[in-house]
């Protein structure tokens, strides 16, 4: 490895260029994340105009806080472990094996990700509840139910994140090792794992953050008996009005998450550049049976609650029918001819799709710039640290309470020049902030593994930086970019926490409308909520499927 050979450009110009590239995303993050969160935390730290950090320490010393933190970390670790256990074999099977319908399966596995938690809660509880078909397991209201729910939502993150890296992994080194007598386990350990580790660590850290900040699923499936830091912040802010304690927990959350991100940043570091090419999936062999079996299990695990939803949406009175679907164009059932909704479900779906397009465009554009920024070879330690710091910074929004962020928007973006709290921009920006880490974590491992010597070779043959990027980086990143786009779109379609805070009344998204229907008495409204969820799920599958089909032949075939 001869890396120091080329002459470095003058540091000052280089630094300016990097700073210029970083300034856009950083500005977005500062306005829409750092400012609101610090504004909300400051409300808790400054009591009646005086700075009182002692109060925060006092809150953190409460025994309950220790219990809550322990449960949060424990359940999130368990949820992450289960997601990896189910997701990794499926990522392998769906990206490397020529299984029938694998694209469809891969898209369908994303469905849980977009379903509103309140709907998934209903579906899970219909299965696990006292009267449900799985009621005999006695899981309703236990931590096991919470962990199952977390894995239901997040296994697809692993399938997608790791699958994207696995798909473009050159199979030849592994085949060569096998030809030289290495056992499959040895190939996995010495060839495949080192190449995949960054992607696995990336996905695992995203899943952990999702699990640690899960809200609805913890309350619904845990039967309110198990508090996490996130549910505690909600309770303290909206019911007990204890802003100081909420600020203390928000700070605790930020510190823990930042620590975790720095740790995983180190684990993610790529060992060596990896040859990438779009490998042709091969026919499954007998040794692939465990992976295929696990994929089947995951599919069953994801499909069962969804089947409960579909069945529920088709049950009309004592019989069966499509009445709930036909009603989606209406506005639900108030008593005696009124209506439950301000806009029909179909219109909410259009709102959802349009918002998701905006959010995806923002997330992908920002994510691509950032991914390029943090993966370029660093000159010197400071620069490397800065880059990994920027990387971690954009992961933070996933790990910080949506309640703190939502209220923070209200109290900090309220006057010129940042009078944005009623702006139509707010919802897509909030969704983009949630989707951005998914884009980053999909792109960074791939770009980091591109051999810098290829770029140098392109440059030495006279290609400008843009040309070099187009011929070297883009082919490697094209498919992961589509995968990330689909992923961001799905995440934005299903986002509920921040959206429910910020969505304007005349333009609600589908998850917001479903939530509203479920909070209203009447059989038709309940059926419509389930039917709306099925429509949301189907739309997601179709959109993700279509996005992944998009490709530019000459580039993709490179």
């Amino acid at each position: 490895m001869t890396r120091g050979g080329t002459r470095r450009p003058r540091p000052s110009r280089r630094t300016w260029a990097l700073a210029g590239l970083a300034s856009g995303p950083l500005l977005v993050l500062a306005v829409f994340f750092v400012l609101p969160v610090s504004g909300m935390v400051a409300r808790g730290l400054w009591v009646d105009g005086t700075f009182d950090p002692g109060g925060v320490l006092e809150v953190l010393a409460r025994p309950r806080v220790g219990r809550v933190l322990a449960f949060t970390v424990g359940s999130a670790l368990a949820g992450t472990a289960l997601s990896l256990l189910l997701g990794l074999p499926a990522a392998y099977a769906l990206s490397r094996l020529a299984l029938p319908g694998r694209r469809l399966v891969r898209s369908a596995l994303l469905v849980p990700f977009v379903l509103p938690t309140v709907v998934v809660g209903v579906a899970f509880r219909q299965l696990l509840g006292e009267a449900g078909p799985l009621g005999f397991l006695g899981l309703d209201g236990t931590p096991v139910a919470i962990v199952l729910g977390l894995a239901f939502f997040n296994a697809s993150v692993v399938v997608r994140g790791v699958g994207a890296a696995w798909e473009s992994l050159d199979p030849r080194p592994g085949e060569a090792a096998a030809a030289l007598g290495a056992s499959p386990a040895q190939v996995l350990r010495t060839v495949t794992w080192p190449a995949l580790r960054p992607a696995v660590v990336s996905s695992a850290s995203v899943v952990f953050l999702f699990c640690a900040t899960a809200f609805g699923i913890v309350l619904t499936l845990g039967g309110v008996r198990h508090a996490t830091v996130e549910t505690e912040i909600y309770l303290l802010t909206t019911t007990l009005f204890d802003l100081r304690a909420a600020a203390a927990l928000s700070l605790l959350q930020i510190v823990v998450v930042a620590g975790l991100l720095l740790l995983t940043g180190r684990l993610r570091a790529t060992a060596a550049p990896v040859e990438r090419r779009a490998a042709r999936p091969r026919r499954p062999r007998r040794s692939d049976l465990p992976a295929c079996a696990t994929t089947g299990l995951l599919l069953l695990f994801v499909a069962t609650p969804l089947a409960a939803l579909v069945v529920g949406s088709l049950r009309v009175g004592d019989g069966w029918g499509l009445a709930h679907y036909r009603a989606l164009g209406s506005r639900g059932d108030g008593s005696g001819g009124g209506s439950a909704l301000l806009v029909p479900v179909t219109e909410a779906l259009v709102n959802s799709l349009r918002t998701a397009v905006d959010a995806t465009a923002m997330a992908v554009a920002l994510g691509l710039v950032l991914a390029v920024l943090v993966t370029r070879r660093s000159h010197g330690r400071l620069e490397r640290r800065l880059r990994s710091g920027v990387d971690a910074l954009f992961m933070l929004p996933l790990g910080v309470s949506a309640v703190t962020l939502g209220f923070g928007f209200l109290i900090t973006l309220d006057r010129p020049p940042l009078d944005l709290r009623d702006s139509a921009l707010l919802v897509p920006v909030a969704q983009a902030l949630v989707a951005l880490p998914l884009v980053l974590r999909t792109l960074v491992p791939v770009l980091a593994a591109v051999d810098d010597r290829l770029r140098q070779a392109a440059a030495s043959m006279g290609a400008g930086p843009l040309r070099a990027w187009l011929t070297v980086d883009l082919p490697a990143v094209w498919k992961p970019l589509l995968a990330a786009g689909g992923f961001a779109f799905a995440a934005s379609l299903g986002e509920f926490g921040a959206t429910s805070f910020l969505a304007r009344d005349d333009r609600p998204t589908l998850p917001v409308v479903i939530f509203r229907l479920l909070g209203t008495p009447g059989q038709l409204n309940y059926g419509m909520a389930l039917a709306g969820s099925v429509v949301l799920a189907a739309t997601t599958t179709l959109v993700v499927l279509a996005v992944e089909r998009l490709r530019v032949p000459s580039v993709g075939a490179f």
Binding site: V118, T220, G519
Partner: protein
């Protein structure tokens, strides 16, 4: 060639984005000087009014009524308290008697002087009656599935004490006081009914197999036998108006009923926000909420009773939604002083 294809893809992407973006059309912010012809009502998720009434307001007052909803009653109160220096609207609706003292103490509302409809005086606040005005009233009551009890040949419960009887073991499901305003109302019911002994009562409920779930929809749709989700518990915490929604098609009688001795009164108030950009508009909205057209629309759009006693109720309501004569209640000031303590103790008891 490659670059061409890529450019094509980018252009296509741009077109798609421009075509289906939500940002392109109107979306204009409604702040600052542009707000002359608008008045903003801040409220919770459950607020709903027919379009025709919103249109009527515009015609009568020459102002656009903009409704901003977010979160439940608790989130609304928190939001109003946090934004009191720079309110997000002009008037607010949806503060109930369990949150009233709290927001009044924060100084969120400005004094006002609307004309109250007949009968509304009965629901006025003792303290802060010059700033918050009653708009609607509802009751949180235990509901029972009459068909279930008829089939099982068991006499349905009637009182709070009954619920702790062995005959009703494993039959009751309620939403949690910590995460649901309905659940909070039930906690207050028990405080009103049993005084300091409410803790023992909850313990006896738990010993009798009480199930506590996250929210109202969870309890009603998933666990209640008449909720449609195939639940197994025939006793649930809901509203006095809920039976009106369980009349099967082609029949006259509802399949459920509310236990009128277990009800807690929830009154929802509205007021003019202190520091409103459009105080005259806010006054107009407040008066609008108290006038007959809105009062008449309340049952069908928000599932609550009007405070105006002269309003005629919809037929299903008049027949099947029976209001309790003597509901339980707790003084708003007492609630404000003890809410946190009660909730902490309740959490200790139910999660032990």
């Amino acid at each position: 060639m490659k670059t061409h294809a890529l450019a094509g893809a980018l252009v296509a992407l741009g077109v798609v984005t421009a075509g289906c973006s939500a940002l392109g059309d109107d979306g204009g912010s409604s702040s600052g000087e542009e707000r002359a012809g608008e008045v903003i009502l801040v409220t919770h998720d459950s607020f709903e009014l027919p379009d025709s009434l919103v249109e009527r307001f515009r015609e009568e007052h020459g102002m656009e009524l903009i409704v901003r909803k977010s979160g439940d009653a608790g989130a609304l109160s928190a939001k109003l308290g946090l934004t009191k220096e720079s309110p997000t609207g002009d008037a607010a609706f949806g503060i109930d008697n369990t949150f009233a003292s709290r927001v009044l103490d924060e100084g969120v509302f400005a004094p006002s002087d609307p004309t109250l409809p007949p009968g509304a005086e009965a629901y006025a606040l003792a303290e802060g009656g010059d700033r918050l005005f009653p708009v609607d009233v509802g009751h949180v009551c235990v509901n029972v599935d009459d068909t279930w009890f008829a089939e099982e040949g068991v006499r349905p419960p009637r009182t709070l004490e009954d619920l702790a009887e062995p005959a009703y073991e494993d039959l009751l499901v309620v939403p949690a006081a910590s995460t649901s305003s309905v659940g909070m109302a039930f906690l207050l019911t028990t405080v009103a009914a049993f005084g300091d002994d409410w803790r023992d009562y909850w313990q006896s409920l738990l010993d009798n197999g009480l199930k506590v779930v996250d929210g109202w929809s969870d309890a009603y749709y998933t666990d209640f036998t008449q909720g449609g989700g195939g639940g197994s518990r025939p006793i649930v915490l809901s509203y006095d108006s809920s039976p009106a929604f369980t009349v099967p098609k082609g029949e006259d009688e509802p399949t459920t009923s509310a236990l009128l001795e277990t009800c807690f009164r929830q009154v929802e108030y509205a007021g003019v926000l202190d520091g409103a950009a459009n105080p005259e508009g806010a006054e107009a909205v407040l008066q609008f909420l108290l006038e007959q057209p809105v009062q008449e629309a309340l049952p069908e759009s928000m599932y609550v009773f009007p405070v105006d006693s002269s309003v005629e109720l919809p037929e299903a309501w008049a027949r099947h939604a029976v209001q309790p004569d003597e509901p339980w209640s707790v003084e708003p000031a007492e609630i404000a002083a003890n809410r946190e303590q009660w909730l902490r103790e309740w959490t200790e008891i139910t999660t032990r």
